[in-house]
């Protein structure tokens, strides 16, 4: 009964770097409507295992809807085995998108951890025409979690990388990259997506430096339609659903654990 549920064909499903895959789905109706920060909810099995659908931020929406994933759990491992031409049951587009940077913004800093990089390519696709200085600070666990970033660079994004083991870029967490970028509170806007401890660190840094921004959050979801209230997170104005009220929230609004 959801008007946004449909069956689509997979256009491609490839490994982009040692750890991450990209799936392209031929879903013109979603491409037309989707905005940066929104997500799609995929039924990865027609059977009962795994039971829940899986939510994915949209990575790019040009000819196809593209998602970016790491095969780590039972759902994403099944997805990695899917082939071009297979059909897939998709709900979307869902959730609240990123807001445009406020007036006066000259510099946009996107801060991503791991798979949290996903919503930032589509965001940079949309922002590149608007003459902002676009910067991506990316933190990955290992060099295997870093891919060439060509698409970001083609969008004019300055990319800085940190890895926990130092195998690529600066050794350490993404937070170590903050000192390499001058951020003026009046003209800088932040977007962040990644593990909660990382976003908590971004929130803390932003609070101390009076920087405004938005965070795209993640939580286990069942319905993704705002019905089950299963994906609620704590915010300064009570529990909010990631699927319907989010996934994008004001950076200072979310209470990270």
């Amino acid at each position: 009964m959801a008007s946004i549920q449909d069956i689509f064909k997979i256009a491609s499903n490839d490994k982009l770097c040692p750890r991450f895959y990209r799936m392209q789905i031929d879903a013109p109706s979603i491409v037309k409507k989707i905005l940066p920060g929104q997500f799609i909810h995929i039924r990865v099995s027609q059977g009962l295992e795994p039971f829940f659908r899986r939510p994915f931020s949209v990575y790019r929406a040009q000819k196809y809807v593209e998602i970016f994933y790491e095969p780590v759990g039972p759902g994403t491992k099944l997805m990695a085995k899917m082939n071009k031409g297979d059909t897939i049951d998709v709900l979307g587009p869902l959730g609240q998108p990123f807001a445009l940077p406020p007036k006066g913004t000259k510099q946009v800093v996107m801060i991503a951890g791991g798979i949290g990089i996903a919503p930032f390519l589509i965001l940079s696709d949309c922002l590149k025409k608007k003459k902002y200085d676009l910067i991506l600070l990316y933190g990955g666990r290992t060099g295997g979690h870093v891919y060439p970033m060509k698409e970001f660079k083609d969008n004019g994004v300055k990319v800085l990388v940190a890895t926990d083991d130092g195998s690529k870029g600066t050794k350490g967490r993404v937070i170590q990259l903050f000192s390499k970028v001058k951020m003026d509170p009046g003209t800088t806007f932040l977007y962040t997506c990644g593990p909660n401890p990382m976003m908590a660190a971004v929130q803390h840094f932003a609070g101390e430096h009076h920087l405004r921004g938005q965070a795209a959050c993640e939580e286990v979801m069942a319905c993704a339609l705002g019905a089950c209230l299963g994906c609620s997170i704590k915010t300064k104005s009570g529990y909010k659903t990631v699927c319907y009220d989010g996934p994008v929230f004001d950076l200072q609004e979310v209470i990270f654990h």
């Binding site: 008007s3 829940f52 049951d89 069942a222 019905a227 319907y244």
Partner: protein, 327 residues
């Protein structure tokens, strides 16, 4: 050609049988008639207009919104859900805007859909059940009141529906107030489901809903913690379906009032099991999270089955379980 005609008939919703007689899917709960036996289980159905096709939602027999409590409740701390083999645990904790908030903010939107509404309520005390009954009795446009006597996620030591005397007491006091049918939703976490079913019937309940979820747990062995913020949650989904079918049948043999059967219904075949076991109405719950089209697919599948079996009236199917063939 024949199959073409058949499929066209399915699409247009023309359910005339070969004999040209219309198929009757309507059922009654108390004095209220519902156009067909398919509804949704409380807490599983949203109706956000931007996501739902309301023309499709209108085809349901009834809608049951999420349970309403007297004061607003913020719900349980996350994590609130976890998937399990063929099912899930939830510990939402009845997050809701309270009776007044629901009546003001949510009820108008539900009424606008134009499908009969069954309102699910939960009181933490007898007095709260009385106040909830009075509030909803004073509201127009509601077809029935369902008493959630069986939510496992609220820290109650004993659920109303685990105690036949408490079940009798709560149903009786609500029945004295309501002018519309009253439905008692029972818990499967009991030794003998027929005792609470009987108590509800004797107290005057117009129907029984069963089953609610089973109290359950999933442990993260790395952290040795429960995966849910509330420690335990309610198990639902196909994992519980065979138990639910058994309980519906047991209750069907015990009481004379109609049963709204639920518990892991994903398909029409699943729903038909409940109807044959004795359910007058069936509710789609957890399936809404996996396949939002499930309630309509169930309704269409029931129609197809009746057509195939040349059954004119759903009443001819309810509680028609045959004895097993002994080999």
């Amino acid at each position: 050609m024949v199959s073409d005609q058949k499929s066209r008939r399915l699409e247009t919703g023309d359910w005339r049988l070969a004999t040209n007689k219309m198929m009757n899917l309507s059922i009654n709960i108390g004095t209220v008639k519902f156009a067909n036996p398919v509804t949704v289980a409380s807490g599983t159905f949203g109706h956000a207009e931007k996501y739902y096709n309301l023309e499709e939602v209108k085809k349901l027999g009834a809608i049951v919104p999420k349970t309403v409590t007297l004061p607003a409740q913020q719900g349980n701390p996350p994590v609130r859900i976890v998937e399990t083999p063929s099912g899930m645990l939830n510990a939402i904790g009845i997050e809701n805007p309270g009776a007044d908030g629901f009546i003001q903010q949510k009820l108008p939107g539900f009424k606008k859909i134009g499908v009969p509404l069954i309102i699910s309520v939960l009181g933490h005390t007898d007095d709260q059940f009385r106040q909830l009954a009075e509030k909803f009795n004073a509201v127009d446009g509601i077809s029935a009141l369902e008493l959630n006597l069986s939510c496992p996620n609220l820290g109650h030591q004993v659920l109303v529906a685990q105690d036949p005397q408490a079940t009798f007491r709560v149903v009786s006091l609500v029945k004295k107030i309501m002018n519309i049918p009253v439905i008692a939703k029972l818990s499967p976490d009991v030794t003998d489901i027929t005792l609470t079913a009987k108590a509800a019937e004797e107290a005057g309940a117009d129907a029984i809903s069963l089953i609610n979820t089973f109290t359950a747990m999933v442990i993260d062995v790395e952290t040795r913690r429960s995966k849910l913020g509330n420690f335990t949650g309610g198990l639902s989904g196909p994992a519980i379906r065979p138990i639910a079918v058994r309980m519906v049948h047991q209750v069907y043999k015990t009481v004379k009032i109609p049963i709204i059967g639920m518990g892991g219904i994903m398909t029409a075949q699943d729903a038909l099991q409940f109807i044959i076991a004795g359910a007058t109405m069936v509710a789609i719950g957890t399936a809404n999270f996996i396949n939002p089209r499930a309630p309509l697919e169930v309704l269409n599948g029931i129609k197809e089955y009746m057509q195939r079996k040349k059954i004119n009236d759903i009443q001819e199917l309810i509680g028609t379980l045959n004895s097993p063939v002994i080999r």
